[in-house]
Amino acid sequence: MISVKNLCKSFGNFVAVNDLSFDVNPGDIVGFLGPNGAGKSTTMKMLTGFLTPTSGHVRIDGRRVSKNTTQLQKLIGYLPEGAPAYDEMTVYQFLHFIADVRGMTKKEKMAGLSQVIDQIELHDVLDQPIETLSKGFKRRVGLAQAIIHNPQILILDEPTDGLDPNQKQHVRNLITSLSKDKIVVISTHILEEVSAVCNRVMIIAAGSKRFDGTPLELQQQSRYYQSVTIKFSYAADITGLLEIDGVDDMKVNKHTGEVTLFPAKGQFILGPVTEYIHHYKLPVDRLHVDQGRLDDVFMQITS
């Protein structure tokens, strides 16, 4: 278990991480969200023992990272931002090196290597110097390096940055398959990634925590959560829609002619709205219920 208490980090006068507290338990796949410069990477660097907190502390299984750095680092697999690697080494040499330094025995090393090479599909580039790899492959090598020792804690800083949609999907599936009973923390600024992979979302902005909950809870914060959007076949009298029980607000899109009805907090308006439409025989082409717009919430929370 990771336990973060009142974590702060300043660079000179600049406060990058400001009084952050949270716990992460096995089974949690935490999406660490925030605009650029929010302090995500800085927090991860403190989780992994690369940076020492200015104040506050990080504990793993009850032990402080800044005191027991090397022992605790054995439990962690870490992909730093930008997936740095020794460019002149081949993929195979590099993974060997990481396994060696991690103190894996020959047997563990061979098993670990062949497993990650399969999982991450690195067969074709094994003997290629890392400097000649595409961005996508470089990122995958970084990922392979992080999971080679089958760590209990996986910390990935923007694991899908720079990948094409297929590769993104691949990496997300991989993370999901790896994450059983583990602690996974991934930072990202891609909102869909969070609903796709994570069971917990944490949003930070300007170094402070702004939200901590499930992806569903995040969606529920959206004005669009359970909102109903209707496209009418031709102009109809819509003034009555606002009077429906539970409808809080209405917005008409001038270009498409679509009408969006927003529910009051905690209300479900689909039933009443369809009833109303039936009753007045309104000419409806299409109708859909929104599950919430994450970008909308994200802006609202972080601004």
Binding site: F50, I76, E88, G103
Partner: protein
């Protein structure tokens, strides 16, 4: 312990994966040849020893060792691999030692490759090879001192050029601190004790006897202490940068 070995092995291989080590060794060999045979009056002295060869080593190391050491930390910082390295379960001590031994080994290799000069002197006369071996050992030890200083300077910055220049500056101070210019400058106002202390830091003074083949314990200790202190200073800088 193993981690030191794996890190050193990687560093050593990295020297040869890029042209750095080859260029370094080539320049070292060419310059030692020039200094020994042309500048150092190897033939004119008509003595069967390698004193001219060893006498120029401090000056060769002054530029070449900072060149070998400048990337050690600076490049890790620039490329971000330092984050990878320092989040592996190894201590900064292990990383520092691994890096040091790898580069020191490259320096040893360069020294060993000067064997044609040794071979020449054996061909031409009958030198005391014990003395020559002692001088080689002393030279390698001194190279280690240059290296520890240069690595410490590399830990300060992510810019290799800055690391290089800083290293030359500091090494230069250690080389010349025993020379006439420096001592004259201090003579007018410094107490004799201070003067002796400054002179005692001089690489030239300590290497002088070694170059003649005398491995005195105090000279050996001097270089070992210098290596230890500067490696430790580099370590402190690395640790300090974690806390910023």
């Amino acid at each position: 312990m193993n981690a030191i070995f794996f890190i050193a092995r990687r560093e050593f291989a990295a020297f040869f994966a890029t042209p750095i080590a080859y260029v370094f060794i080539a320049i070292f060999l060419i310059l030692s040849g020039i200094f020994t045979f042309f500048v150092g009056d190897f033939y004119e002295r008509s003595q069967a020893d390698l004193t001219p060869f060893f006498n120029y080593h401090p000056w060769l190391y002054l530029f070449l060792v900072p060149a070998i050491a400048m990337r050690s930390w600076a490049e890790e910082r620039r490329s971000g691999t330092i984050e990878l390295l320092m989040t592996l379960p190894v201590t900064s001590v292990q990383v520092t030692l691994g890096k040091f031994f790898a580069a020191w080994l490259v320096l040893l290799l360069a020294l060993l490759l000067t064997f044609p000069i040794w071979w020449t002197v054996n061909y031409l006369g009958e030198p005391d090879n014990g003395i020559i071996l002692a001088a080689y050992t002393g030279s390698w030890l001194m190279a280690g001192a240059f290296l520890a200083i240069s690595m410490c300077m590399s830990a300060l910055t992510k810019n290799q050029v800055i690391a290089f220049v800083l290293a030359i500056l500091v090494c230069f101070l250690f080389v010349v601190s025993g020379s006439g210019i420096v001592l004259d400058a201090f003579e007018k106002w410094a107490a004799p004790g201070v003067l002796d202390t400054i002179a005692s830091f001089s690489f030239l003074n300590h290497f002088d006897t070694m170059a003649k083949g005398v491995l005195a314990l105090n000279d050996i200790l001097f270089f070992m202490v210098v290596i230890g202190i500067w490696l430790y200073a580099g370590l402190l800088i690395i640790e300090q940068k974690k806390a910023v």
